[in-house]
Assembly symmetry: D2
Homo-oligomer: 337 residues x 4
C-alpha cells in the first residue's frame, strides 16, 4: 500500500498517519519528493486494508500494491487447475463445448437436443430450470421438473449437466440433479449464494457479471474458493458497453488476462455475449484462438418457438456445422475439440 | 411491436411471419416502403413478446413500442406514490434525508450517530447488519446483533430504520427489526430476493444496480409491485462508466426521467455514487435541485476508524453543516427539508 | 512515479531498472516488502515519463504520482480564473447563461433569437456556422455567412458571441467575428486545432469529449494554455455510457471534481447531454446547484423546423420561464443569475 | 421512419404531424393500436430525416428504419471491396500484416525495423511522423523528416507505407510520401479531415474512435466515400469500457458485424487496443479467427527506449515468432498469411 500525501499536508497530519501505521505493527517508508511525500506501508496488506487511509486528513490518494484475491491467483498456485466432472476435464488440452437450450421447456425438446449435441461432440449439456428473467411476466422456468429431465438426458447421453442456481434455498434440489452448478451473471455478486456454493463438493460455473471488472470477477471466485471449493470454472459472457450492435461486448482479452492472473479454467459464452445467432461462429473461433478452455452455446430444436433467447440460439444443423468448423482452429493453437 | 424485414426477405418468409402473428390472435399491418417492408403488430404486446420474432428468417429487427413495465408506470397510475413509514412521507413535499453509518459496528457508535443525525433533521436512520463486501476477507457485518441496535436506536430517536436484506433466508429476522427493507445494488437483479420482498407488508428501498439501465431498474421494481407490494422507494446510487475520478458516475438525469416514466418516489445516494466525502455536498444540492425526493447519506462518528466506506462517510460536524446548506436549495425548488 | 516489481523479478532486472533511473539523474528509493519490491523514483516526473518503464523486464506496473497537467492545475494557480469577454465575467459570482440556436439557419431566426435571449438575461449568444454533423448528407452550416449574422446580432444586443471552429484553416474567419471560439466535443483531442487556439488572444470554450476522462479533458486544456492562452472555459456536455434514456449521461460530479483540480471556470451544456427538451430545466437547476459557472442552452424560435437539434431546443417561452426558475437556485447557493 | 405517439396525444397533434409528413411529399400510414398510435412514414428516409419529428407535440419517440449510411453499405455493393496498394491487396484471401514503430524516432531505427518486419512477412510498414499525444509536453513526432525515412524504407523493402495525417494543412506533405493515409482514432469524427481525404486518390486507413459505435464508424467512412474515395480500410483498435485491465477493450465482434453491414475491408490493431505486449499474440490469433482482413502491429527494435507506446511494442524476435504462430490460424479459417 502506498499513501500519497497532498502538497499541503502538514507535518502533524503526516505524523498522525505514521503513528496509525505503526500502531498496526506495520512499517512506514517515508519518501519526500519535490512535489509530493509518499509513504510506503510495509507489512501484510490485509492489515492495511482494514484502515480507511483515504479518510485521513492530508491524504491525496492510496494505491494498493497487491491484487485483492489470493487463493485463485497464479502466485498461490502456478499450474493450471483442471476441473474434472465424470470423464470431462475442463482446463486441459481439449477444448470443451457445453450446449443445450436456454430453458428446459419440456421433456421432448430437452432429450432431443441433448442427444443431438452429444452426437456432435458436446461434452456438457446446459439447460435452465430456474430462469432469471428481467420481466416478472416472462416464463420463469419449469423448476425441479426441468432438472429431472436434465438428469434423464444425462442417463441417456452420458454427458454431465450444468444448470443454474438462483436461490440458496434451492441448493439441495439443484445438487440432487446437477453435475456442475451455474451461478448466473446477475448473481456474480450475490455473496450469500457464492458462500453457499463455496461449501458444496460439486464444481461451480461462475459467469462474469456484464458490468464487472476482471478483478471483481476473480474476487467472486475467491468467495467460492475461500469456502473450500476449488473447482471453479470461470465464464466470460460479454460486458455492457456503449455499443448496441451486439447485446453485450464479448471481452476476449479477458481470457489471456485471466490466464495470467489465475490458475482457474475459463470458458466463453458467445450466445449471451452477442445475442445474435449469425455471430456465434466467428466469435467461437476467436474464443478458441485466444485460448479459452471451452465454449457454452445455446442450441434449440426450433429457435422460432423458443421460450427464451430464440434469436441467439443455434438450430441443430447450424450447431453440427459449427463443431466441424471449430476443430481446425483448435488444432491451429495446439489443442483439440 | 414493429417488425422490420430484410430487403432480401422473400414473400414466403413474409407470409410465414404474418401467419404466426394471426395464429396468436393479433392483427398485422403490412406497410411496403421503397427500401423496407414493415409489419406492425396490433394487439396486446404481452402476447407478442412471447414469440422470438428476431429468430424468424427474413427479419432484420424488431422494435417494441411499449415499455415493458406496467404497474410502476405513470400510465398505470398518474399521481405520485407517497410511501408512508410512521410519520415520514417519502415522495411528498418534504425532501427526506436518511443518514447513518455504512455498517453498524457496535452499539455505542450507532446510538451516538442516530441521536446526532436525528437532531440535525434526518428522518430515517440507515445502517447495515448484513454487508455485501467484494472481499470474503472483509468485515461482513454484525448480523442480527446490528439489527437489535437499530431497533434500539429507533426507540430512542423515534425515526424509522432502513437496513439491507441480502439473503431471502434472513427475511424474518430483518422484518422483525426494520421499518424499510433495502435491496442493495448488487441484488437489483436477484429475482428470488425481489419476489420475496414483493410479498411483505413493509416498504422496500430498491437501489439501482450500477450496471443497470433505467428500464431494467423499473423492471426490478415491477417484480416487487407485481407481488403486491406497492411501497417501493427507488434509489439512484451511481452507474459504472469509463470515468475513474469518482467511484461511480451519479446519473442525476435518471431522477427526472424516472419521474416521467413512473409514479414511484426516487431518492439519491451521493455517498456510494461519488465515493468521496468532499463531493457529497455539491451532489446533494444538485440531487435536490433536480427533483429527488430524498437523500441517503453515510455518516460515521469517526470516519478514520470506519470498518467500511470511511472515505465517503461524513463526520458529524460535516453532516450538520450540510443539512443547513441544503435547506435553501430545497426551498428554491419549492420544497422543504 | 512508483514502480512495482513482479514477485519473480530477478536481482539483475532490478539493477537494470535502478541504473536506468540513475542515468536520468533521478534517485531510486527501493522498498522491499514481504510480497513485492517497490521502487519510488524521486525527481522531476517529466523526466521519468519519457521512459516506458512498463516495457522493462521484471516490472509489474507503474503508478504515476502527479497529475499530468500543470498550468491548468490548482497547484499552479490557487485562485479561480475569471475569463472576461466585454462586460461578461465567466467564473465569477454570477452564473452566466449562453443561449441560441444550434445552427444559424438564416438572418431572421438568429436576430430574433438573439434579441429574445438577451432580453431574458442571457449573457452570451451561441450559434454555429461550421457544424460537425455525423452524416455527410446533413446540413453543414452556413459558414462565414452565419458568422456575419452573429456579428450583427452582437451589434444589436450587445452580448458577445461564441461559435465553433472545426478546421484550423478557418481560424482567421472565425476570429474576425467571434468573441469566444468554441472547440466542439469531437475535436477535444484534435491537437492540431488545440495548438492553433493556444496562440490566439480570444477566449476558448473547450467542450469535453463524450468519451474523455476528466484528466484527458484537462490535458486538452493544458494544450491550449501551454500555447500561451490562459482564457479557457471548460464545458461538461455529457459522457457516453450504457444508458440510452438520455443522449449522453450528464456527469455533474465533474464540476466539483474539476473545481478541485483546476482553476479554470466550468460551465454545463444540458441540451447536448440530455438531448431532451423536457430535461433541460431540472438539469440546469442541478448544474447551478453543483457549482457550475454557467450554462449553455439551445434555443430555437420554432424547434419543429430546426435544421439540427430540434428535439433538445427550447422554444422562446420555455427559455423565458426557465430563466425565472433558475434564479432562486443560484441565490440558494450564494450566486446570482 | 416510424413515429410513436404519446397515449395522451390529441387528434389535433396527430393531424399536425400528418400534414407535415404530407407536405414533404411523403405518405403516412396510421395504425391505431390499443395503447399507442403509430405512424409509419413511407418515402425517401433522407427527406424524413430533415424534420425533427421528436420536437413535435404528442410524439413519444421516433424509430428510424434504415441505416444512415449508404455508399459503404452491403446493400449498395454486395461484393467485398479489395483495396489495392502496389502488390498488396487488403480485403482479399490473404491476411495482411502492417508493422512498424509507433513513432519514427530516427532513420536507423526505422530502416532496421522496416527491413526486419518485411523479412518476417509484413506487407505494410507503419510509422508516425505526426503524432497525436495526450500531453503537449510529449514527443510530437519528427514531422516531414519521418516521412522521408518512411519513403526511403519503402525503396529498400518494397513494401508500401501507412502514416497518419492529423492536420488538413499537412495533406500535401503526407501525400508526397505515404501510400496509405491513416486517420487516427481521435480524428474519426474530425469531419474537416474526413472531407479532405475524401478527395484524394490514395487509400485511407480509418481507425475507429474508442468511444464510437459501429454505426458512427461507418458514417465516418461514408464521409470519405461520399467525397469520391472508395478505397477505405477500416480498423478496429479497441473501445473504451469500464474495464481497466487492458488499455481499451478490443471489440472483435465488430469485425463480423461490419462484414455484414459493409463491403469495406476491416483490420484489427491489438497493440493500441490492449496496450500490453503479452496480449498481442492471443488477440492477433483471435482477430484472424474472427475474420479480420489484416493486423496492425507495433514493433520497435528496443521497446525499453521507445519514445511512445513502448509497453505495447513487440521486440523483433517476438514479432518473428508471432508471424510463425499466426499462419496456422489463418489456414484454419481458409485464408493465408
Amino acid at each position: 500500500m502506498i499513501i500519497i500525501l497532498k502538497p499541503a499536508a502538514t507535518e502533524e497530519q503526516r505524523q498522525h498517519i505514521i503513528e496509525r501505521i505503526e500502531s498496526l505493527g506495520l512499517r512506514p517508508n517515508v519518501s519526500v519528493g519535490v512535489k509530493r511525500t509518499v509513504i510506503g506501508v510495509i507489512g501484510p496488506e490485509d492489515v492495511v486494508r482494514t484502515v480507511p487511509l483515504e479518510a485521513f486528513p492530508g491524504v491525496e490518494s492510496v494505491v494498493p500494491i497487491l491484487q485483492p484475491f489470493k487463493l485463485v491467483s497464479r502466485e498461490f498456485k502456478g499450474e493450471d487447475t483442471v476441473v474434472q466432472v465424470g470423464n470431462v476435464r475442463i482446463g486441459g488440452q481439449k477444448v470443451v463445448v457445453g450446449a443445450g437450450p436456454c430453458a428446459v421447456e419440456n421433456r421432448e425438446m430437452l432429450l432431443e437436443t441433448a442427444s443431438f449435441v452429444s452426437k456432435c461432440g458436446a461434452s456438457l449439456l446446459r439447460g435452465g430450470g430456474f430462469k432469471p428473467r428481467t420481466s416478472p411476466y416472462s416464463f420463469q422456468g419449469l423448476g425441479e421438473e426441468a432438472l429431472k429431465y436434465l438428469a434423464e438426458a444425462r442417463e441417456k447421453t452420458g454427458i454431465p449437466v450444468v444448470t443454474e442456481l438462483m436461490d440458496p434455498r434451492d441448493i439441495s434440489i439443484v445438487l440432487k440433479y446437477a453435475d456442475i452448478v451455474q451461478i448466473g451473471m446477475r448473481n456474480m455478486s450475490n455473496f450469500a449464494l457464492l458462500k453457499e456454493v463455496g461449501g458444496i463438493d460439486k464444481p461451480v460455473l461462475l459467469k462474469r457479471g456484464n458490468m464487472s471488472t476482471i478483478k471483481e470477477f476473480l474476487m467472486s471466485a475467491e468467495y467460492i474458493v475461500s469456502g473450500g471449493n476449488f473447482n471453479v470454472i470461470l465464464c466470460e459472457r460479454g460486458i455492457r458497453t456503449f455499443e448496441t450492435a451486439t447485446r453485450n461486448t464479448q471481452d476476449l482479452s479477458a481470457v489471456p488476462v485471466i490466464k495470467q492472473l489465475s490458475h482457474l479454467p475459463i470458458i466463453v459464452d458467445p450466445s449471451h455475449a452477442t445475442g445474435r445467432r449469425n455471430l456465434i461462429e466467428p466469435i467461437s473461433k476467436a474464443a478458441i484462438a485466444v485460448g479459452a478452455d471451452g465454449l457454452l452455446l445455446e442450441v434449440h430444436p426450433n429457435p422460432e418457438t423458443a421460450m427464451s433467447d430464440g434469436p441467439q440460439s443455434l438450430a441443430p444443423p447450424q450447431f453440427a456445422q459449427l463443431m466441424k468448423n471449430l476443430a481446425p482452429v483448435a488444432r491451429a493453437v495446439g489443442r483439440e475439440l
